[in-house]
């Protein structure tokens, strides 16, 4: 009975984690759609501007947040630790800094709605006004 309960909870959780991710920007942003590669380049620090040359500021969840690992895995195919090591390398070399980190998805959404240059990721949900989805990311990818 307990086993069944655990199984059902796990099924429910996996369903939640497998739930699709949304990459969101400020609704004032002229970009409506971004390619997968463009998202990668933005989040991994290769480019610091949107394709329309407007400055971009990627936002991240706090290290250790389950969604963060799911996002990077889905985006780059790397684990969270690998991504942290990547950033550590760049930070050690200097003049490069990783995306700013926020504790919750709500804080992210709030920040994106406020900052025109912001870009962040959240689970699929009903979004408030002030943000728009530029790409949907499937976690099973």
């Amino acid at each position: 009975m307990r086993k069944l309960l655990v199984f059902l909870t796990a099924l429910l959780l996996s369903g939640a984690i497998r739930a699709e991710l949304l990459v969101i920007v400020n609704s004032a942003n002229s970009i409506d759609k971004l390619e997968h590669k463009q998202i990668v380049d933005l989040f991994m620090g290769r480019v610091s501007a949107f394709p329309d040359r407007q400055p971009a500021q990627p936002l991240d969840l706090k290290a250790g947040t389950p969604l963060r690992a799911v996002f990077y895995k889905a985006l780059t195919g790397k684990s969270e630790a690998q991504v942290d090591a990547y950033w550590a390398t760049l930070i050690f070399a200097g003049r490069m800094s990783p995306p700013a980190q926020f504790a919750t998805e709500a804080a992210l959404i709030q920040k994106v709605a406020k900052e025109r240059a912001a870009i962040a990721y959240v689970t699929r949900q009903t979004l408030p006004k002030g943000v728009k989805v530029v790409m949907e990311l499937s976690a099973s990818q």
């Binding site: 620090g45 195919g77 760049l90 070399a93 003049r95």
Partner: protein, 534 residues
């Protein structure tokens, strides 16, 4: 040290072979080791690049010059790398050390992919390896490997040489030296160590010892044989040298091969002359009867049996005649033809004694003439020797006419004197070769060898009758004339055998007696009553 010694030969061969192998393999191993070492260095450079590949890729991906510079600086810390650079978007974002274009062909480069997309090429990491250093290290490594190899080969070679020396060449040279100092028959044998017992060297030693033993046995046998032969030779030489019999060896032609001292003594020759004889005929020189001697030699050779005879030695001076009994026997073939062995010994004394006995037996002691036996045998001999239809001879039988009267009147001494005188007269009147014999009493017999015809016989008979005209002094101062009656028979007219010839001569003589004596008559066959002589 002997340059031809086995050990030197083996050592030189092994050393030459080892040198050859080392020379070949050293070159090969040096090359291989160099290439391997070089490849190792290149691979280590490659690995070095792979180590920093991820970091370099990040630097190229984000175009971070600081990170790129860190990477290339870190690379050039390595002494196998003299220069490094990272290119991203055709722009050098980090470089250190030599990156000159002249080293282009020597660059080792790897492509840099995007950290989050293996498909995307974001740049290139290239280094200039320190090829002189790599080559130097490769050479060092190769040299070390080669030196090790050579040293190993040298040690193995030395070990092989030592083994070969201890196990083969030294025992062999000991064997050879030992054998060299052994004289066959001295009893010495070669020693074999326990280590070599059963192997080839041991077997060789055993075989040599067996051979030495066989040789020693043979030598000993031969020595004993030689000793026996010497003993025999000494004995035979003693017999030969000391023999009183002359022993000699001659060839068929009569030349002397060898002779003992007794031979030269018997032959009245100086032994020193032997050398001067050469091929001359010794037989002809030694024997008076050399024809007989040569005939005996031929006979001995043909019949292969000994033949002997009494032969006379030829005397150079007027020494008394000497006789030897000589036996010839075939001695087989020596070089230059058949040889005959002769043995001779002095029989002069025996011969003289025989002669005396024969003379005594055949002589009438009173008159010195032949006696009846001698006359008989002489007659038989004459007839036997006379060829049929050949030579004739006459038998003359003589009887004194008045002998009984002389004997009776003057005594036997007077009779003897008459007989001696008549005998002397008869002997003087005929040839030496004619036989004059006293047959007993007052009867004499003459065998006239050469009386070829009747007239010759008659002449001799008349001479004999005439001689009797001289008177004989029977006693001092007393002279007597003695008449004789002669009966003659001729051979072969009057008889072909001794008996008939004698008988017919007898008949003729009695016929004379009957007719008045002191005359002669020749037998006339068919006349029983004998006619008067003419």
């Amino acid at each position: 040290m002997n340059i031809k010694s086995l050990h030197i030969k083996v050592s030189l061969s092994v050393a030459a072979a080892a040198l050859f192998v080392v020379a070949l393999s050293a070159q090969f191993f040096y090359q291989r080791s160099y290439q391997q070492s070089f490849a190792d260095s290149e691979r280590s450079v490659q690995q070095l690049l792979e180590t920093v590949q991820a970091t370099a890729a990040i630097a190229a991906y984000v175009g971070n010059r600081e990170l790129a510079q860190q990477v290339v600086t870190g690379l050039t810390q390595n002494d196998t790398v003299v220069g490094a650079k990272i290119v991203a978007n055709k722009e050098v974002i980090g470089s250190n050390g030599r990156t000159a274009a002249d080293d282009q062909q020597q660059l080792i480069a790897i492509a840099l992919s995007a950290p989050f997309d293996e498909q995307e090429r974001v740049g290139e990491l290239a280094v200039v390896p320190n090829f002189p250093l790599i080559a130097l290290r490769a050479r060092d490594s190769a040299r070390t490997t080669t030196i090790g190899l050579v040293a190993q080969a040298a040690i193995v070679t030395l070990l092989v040489l030592a083994m070969v020396y201890w196990m083969m060449t030294r025992p062999l040279s000991q064997l050879s030296g030992g054998l060299h100092h052994i004289t066959p028959g001295d009893g010495n044998r070669l020693a074999v160590s326990r280590f070599h017992r059963g192997d080839e060297i041991g077997v060789l030693t055993d075989d040599i010892n067996a051979l030495l033993h066989t040789v020693a046995t043979m030598l000993e046998e031969e020595r004993q044989l030689r000793h026996r032969v010497e003993l025999l030779e000494t004995r035979f030489r003693g017999i030969f040298e000391d023999s009183s019999a002359g022993i000699f060896l001659v060839r068929e032609q009569g030349s002397l091969v060898t002779a003992n001292p007794a031979f030269f003594q018997l032959a009245a020759m100086d032994e020193a002359q032997q050398k001067n004889l050469g091929e001359s005929n010794v037989i002809a020189r030694v024997f008076l009867d050399h024809d007989r001697a040569s005939a005996l030699i031929k006979l001995a050779l043909v019949s292969k049996r000994p033949h002997s005879a009494d032969l006379r030695i030829r005397n150079l001076h007027d020494e008394p005649l000497r006789w030897v009994h000589c036996i010839f026997s075939s001695a087989g073939n020596i070089q230059q033809g058949a040889a005959v062995e002769g043995v001779m010994y002095d029989v002069t004394q025996r011969k003289q004694a025989e002669e005396r006995i024969r003379e005594l037996a055949e002589t009438d002691s009173l008159t010195g003439l032949s006696n009846r036996q001698a006359a008989d045998s002489a007659l038989e001999e004459l007839i036997r020797q006379a060829p049929i239809g050949g030579r004739e001879f006459a038998v003359m039988l003589i009887d004194l006419d008045r002998f009984k009267y002389i004997n009776d009147t003057y005594g036997h001494d007077a009779g003897d004197k008459v007989l001696i005188t008549i005998a002397a007269r008869l002997r003087k009147l005929v040839r030496d070769s004619d036989v004059v014999a006293r047959m007993g009493g007052d009867e004499f017999l003459l065998l006239l060898n050469h009386a070829g015809n009747i007239s010759m016989v008659q002449r001799i008979a008349q001479k004999i009758l005439a001689a009797q005209q001289a008177p004989i002094e029977v006693q001092p101062g007393v002279l007597e004339k003695i008449g004789i009656s002669i009966g003659i028979a001729l051979y072969p007219q009057h008889g072909d055998n001794p008996l008939s010839v004698r008988k017919h001569a007898d008949q003729a003589m009695y016929a004379v007696k009957r007719r008045g004596k002191n005359n002669y008559a020749i037998y006339s066959p068919g006349e029983s009553d004998l006619p008067l002589p003419p």
